[in-house]
């Protein structure tokens, strides 16, 4: 397009008299090939408009907005898991505390117990007896089978569970803190610029 044509369109553009079609023509002109030197000073506007038209919602954004919720669920799930683990460990730990005294005489008998009372008897006991009894019964089979491996287990496991719980808490707090920090940071950036703005 010739300089005169563009200049005429520009004049009407500034007055708000151009049609959408004419405005598209202006954007096309300033974003395509070489520009007439006399029009160079308005080029940045039409390039800016063109660039802004290309701004898109990134898919990354979606993932980012979903992630905090996922972490919440993960945190809730791990807390639930740890609670369950703690509840499970509890009878085992008390069991093992008594074990040193009961152990020496009990070891020869212990291996027999699991072999003779496998599933049917456990199933038979389950409905009648309170839940707590079920645990020791199951637990007892373990010290007999693998007492050497499991000696450090209960205390370590308890400690590990505690550590995990603490870490999960820290991680949850960190995550929350991070999102808040990001918000605050962007807020501060913005606040610096407030005085520049003129109300209209």
């Amino acid at each position: 397009m010739k300089y005169e044509q563009i200049q005429a369109l520009l004049d009407r553009y500034w007055e708000g008299e151009t049609s959408l079609e004419e405005e598209r023509a202006l954007k096309a002109y300033f974003n395509a090939g070489p520009i007439d030197e006399r029009l160079r000073n308005v080029a940045p506007l039409f390039r800016a408009l063109k660039e802004e038209q290309l701004v898109e919602l990134k898919t990354k954004a979606k993932a980012a907005s979903i992630r905090p919720q996922m972490y919440q669920w993960a945190a809730a799930a791990s807390v639930a898991l740890l609670l369950a683990a703690g509840w499970w460990m509890w009878p085992k730990a008390t069991d093992q505390q008594m074990a040193p005294m009961a152990h020496q005489p009990a070891t020869p008998i212990a291996p027999q117990a699991p072999t003779t009372i496998p599933q049917e008897s456990v199933a038979a006991i389950q409905p009648q007896k309170p839940l707590v009894n079920k645990k020791p019964a199951k637990r007892k089979s373990q010290p007999g089978n693998k007492s050497t491996q499991q000696e450090i287990d209960p205390e370590t496991a308890m400690a590990m569970a505690e550590i995990k719980a603490a870490l999960a808490l820290v991680s949850a707090k960190l995550d929350k803190g991070k999102t808040q920090a990001v918000k605050k940071a962007s807020y501060l950036e913005v606040v610096e610029k407030v005085p520049k703005r003129t109300e209209g």
């Binding site: 940045p44 506007l45 660039e51 990134k58 954004a61 918000k183 209209g200």
Partner: protein
Amino acid sequence: MTRTIFQEQVLPIRNKLYRFALRITGSVHEAEDVVQEVLEKVWKTAPEQSVNVQNWEAWCMTLTRNRSLDKTRSQSLRRTAPLEGVAERSADGYNPAQATESADLVQKVKQLMQELPDKQRMVMHLRDIEELSYEEIAEALSISMEQVKVNLHRARKTIREQMTGLT
């Protein structure tokens, strides 16, 4: 709201909604939130209400504007913040020597637009970036056609004046 309407008329304009939210809030993060909230709200529209919606795009734009303005007010965020995420976009399609020189000016013009008063900024955005008709802009912003024209004229005039100061 039916799945078909949502997929065919609402989802395709999410980038448009995002750009508009970004224009108002000046924050990528806030704009993403706005779009998500608007899409959610539209999706949950009761069938008897959705029958009344003639123009989903205009309605979504209105929701986006309201939600964005709420956010900027509640957070006392000002959208004079430079648009995040657009700064690194390189100007392509013309020779590199010119490009680097003018890329800076392009950023400055974007900043000028961002500094316009709310209404002027919104009108100019919908016209010059989203290429809506005056009627559509009036509907989206719930203002008269006359208001659209006046605000657009003022916005362009301001940009023109300030641009001469740049070069």
